[in-house]
Symmetry: C2
């Protein structure tokens, strides 16, 4: 499909970040032009979309999530992290089948689309089914290894790494493990060796709670980041999810090894884990992305909520209302996330980049007046403003004829019926 967007306000997210007026061409799965109105007589358009002054920008990257955990939404709330994880989440997870993961991943993907998210960095089990859901929906997924002492082997990670990186254009795979506190030293050493064998970055949950950090210090006399680094885990980079309780030494390692940090503010609040030192990491030049975490802890998968929390909590933490401004937050939610996920072709809107983009409705009260469009998006924007979500040149979600439409190969009502049926089975 060749699609032309006219009359758009475009935020390409190329530096310097600004709002341009013009048009945008999508040919196949790529952006072929962005700029002022231009002669296009040699191109046959399948569709011309009048953006009517609305914003077009790169889709958000959900840089840390567990899609299939939508099954636990509003099922296990109001508990401390460790109790939540070991006594509630893990026992229910033990009942999950591949089929269940497939349906709950589809539900998550539909929710991502409503929030303008065009790719996820997904850490979960049975990646075959997760991958199937993404591909069928036309959604872009970077899978992340998640082995720990309760499941998965290094051999499986190696097999998945080689397989899923040559599987489908919408799919890629990063080496990863669940967390230091769930994975024995021997496995961690094997993981580090695997990263070095493939010269690959390694990702994991890191320093999410105080307990986790204290436990690692008790076990190894080091914080998680220092300990994992001492094993050679980050010789080829990688990253940490959460990174709430980071020491100066931890942050120095992030900087030195160019580790990506993905922050998950809603989940960190709701589980009472804490507030990550975002402004400090920004000042140090550490690359930052934003993730929703899974629906079990958040409980929703909404990048607008996360963006406001990133800046609001940074302002509170620093006791400085000027901390972490809107442009920095928008970068984190787009280019920062893409960088963390290795999605070099999906970070900005430019000729030759993948057409992973969204349209935001400015003709809504929360976007008026237009004193500052970027601040409106970050501070006042909501899922309600998302009127189009496109992945690889294909419109997967839109309100173009006024009504909500999913184009993910399945009727939404079928998915809702299915997931409620599954929950009845799982609770029995």
């Amino acid at each position: 499909m060749n699609i032309k967007f006219i009359n758009a306000k475009i935020i390409t997210m190329e530096e310097p970040v600004q709002v341009l007026e013009g048009e945008l061409w999508v040919e196949g799965d790529k952006v072929s032009y962005v700029g002022p109105m231009k002669d296009d007589k040699n191109i046959k358009w399948d569709r011309e979309i009048d953006a009517a002054g609305n914003i077009i920008m790169p889709g958000f990257k959900n840089a840390h999530t567990h899609s299939a955990m939508t099954f636990l939404r509003s099922f296990v709330d109001d508990l401390p992290l460790q109790e939540w994880l070991y006594e509630r989440a893990f026992p229910m997870e033990a009942k999950l089948t591949g089929e269940y993961i497939y349906h709950f991943s589809k539900l998550a993907i539909m929710e991502y689309l409503t929030s303008g998210i065009t790719a996820n960095f997904d850490m979960y089990m049975q990646n075959e089914l997760n991958a199937k859901a993404s591909i069928e929906c036309g959604f872009r997924t970077v899978l992340c290894g998640s082995i720990n002492d309760f499941g998965g082997t290094l051999e499986e990670i190696e097999e998945e790494y080689t397989r899923f990186n040559h599987y489908h254009p919408l799919l890629s795979y990063m080496i990863g493990f669940h967390a230091e506190y769930t994975t024995k030293r021997e496995t961690l050493e094997g993981m580090a060796a695997l990263g070095q064998k493939y010269k690959a970055p390694i990702y994991t949950h890191n320093s999410e709670s105080r307990n986790e950090v204290a436990g690692c210090i008790e076990r190894y006399g080091k914080t998680p980041t220092v300990f994992l680094d001492s094993l050679g885990m980050f010789e080829y980079g990688g990253g940490g999810f959460h990174c709430v309780h980071m020491s100066e030494a931890d942050l120095a390692i992030c900087k030195e090894k160019q580790l990506h940090v993905v922050t998950n503010p809603a989940s960190n609040l709701k589980l009472a884990s804490g507030i990550a030192p975002i402004s400090k990491m920004l000042d140090m030049g550490i690359n930052l992305g934003i993730g929703t975490d899974g629906a079990a802890s958040n409980n929703c998968l909404d990048m607008f909520r996360e963006m406001f929390l990133v800046t609001g909590l940074a302002k509170y933490r620093d006791m400085d209302a000027s901390s972490v401004d809107a442009v920095n937050v928008l970068k984190m939610a787009t280019v920062g996330g893409a960088k963390a996920m290795g999605l070099k072709e999906c970070d900005t809107i430019a000729e030759g980049k993948k057409a992973d983009l969204i349209m935001l409705d400015m003709h809504q009260p929360n976007m008026q007046p237009m004193n500052n469009i970027i601040k409106n998006i970050v501070y006042a924007g909501s899922k309600q403003n998302v009127v189009l979500t496109m992945v690889a040149g294909k419109i997967l979600y839109d309100f173009l004829d006024g009504k909500q439409k999913f184009n993910v190969g399945v009727e939404p009502e079928e998915v809702y019926t299915k997931v409620n049926e599954i929950m009845i089975n799982m609770k029995n």
Copy 2:
């Protein structure tokens, strides 16, 4: 109009809070029946709406806001509270005309409707124009006096109090002043006398920032709550907006005088003011409402964002993931706010109550699976789920035919054009 809703999931917010299946009748501006399917052959229905399993519940009460401050949305961000207020907000406010306030209030009302808000407690200037906007839109507003050393007199407050409480069924008025730190002692004493003359509650901004509390202690040797109480300000009750930095003595006064506390978590984060001690106030039995504050500081007027922040920040502040659960938050956003605003007929859904209600779309990914509907609303809900907002029996906003429709006596596009024109004038 007589409207009948069938096939609904109804949360009346009557105790105990639960989800019922059934139907709901609206005759004129009141609810005439709520319960299981029932014979209705004597009623002529103007409209029958199939709720299709969606939620019907009381509308949210925005219990502290400054509607017309939508003009400052994304215009003055990233500054400390005092600088923000004195150097940015006040000088721009000096340029506001009544006509400007009228249009920006309409913009705010439209935004409230998109978030399921059916009434606001509005503290601003030139209430005549604010009132005009609300009445024309069909929206319910409780006006709040806001005099301070920069504008307004006690005589004006008295005149407004007697006038606006007998002005229009959608309107009422509470005595109030801006804040201790902007109002000289003589005026505060006059205010207390006025409350006593009319046996009326008095409302004000209270203990929003540390600076404010420190200033009051320096001036009077007392915290704001203790000082104001010592003037006889709360002999007939009243309430405080924000109440972030409250001492034990302050909270004891709130309890003793049955003061209402309205929390504004997004604004308090964004201005780096702090986190209010919500769980402590709940434990003490203090009535709590939730407000968005104005768009100048928030920057949006979205009750879903506020609800998640109330619980998320309480969990963080208490370092206890079980603090302030979803049911308590939903009470604050509805019945608690209504109580603070004196809206005795608009708090719950029951026979004879005003038909101020909303419908929330459960047929959306973020509301699935339905493990716990109330938790889904508070933890995962968004403006995107609001498909109908009714005030006094009139549908002011809906998606009933799939497309967004405002029914506020003016085309949205007219309002957007107008407010951007006004901004151009004000910036010159």
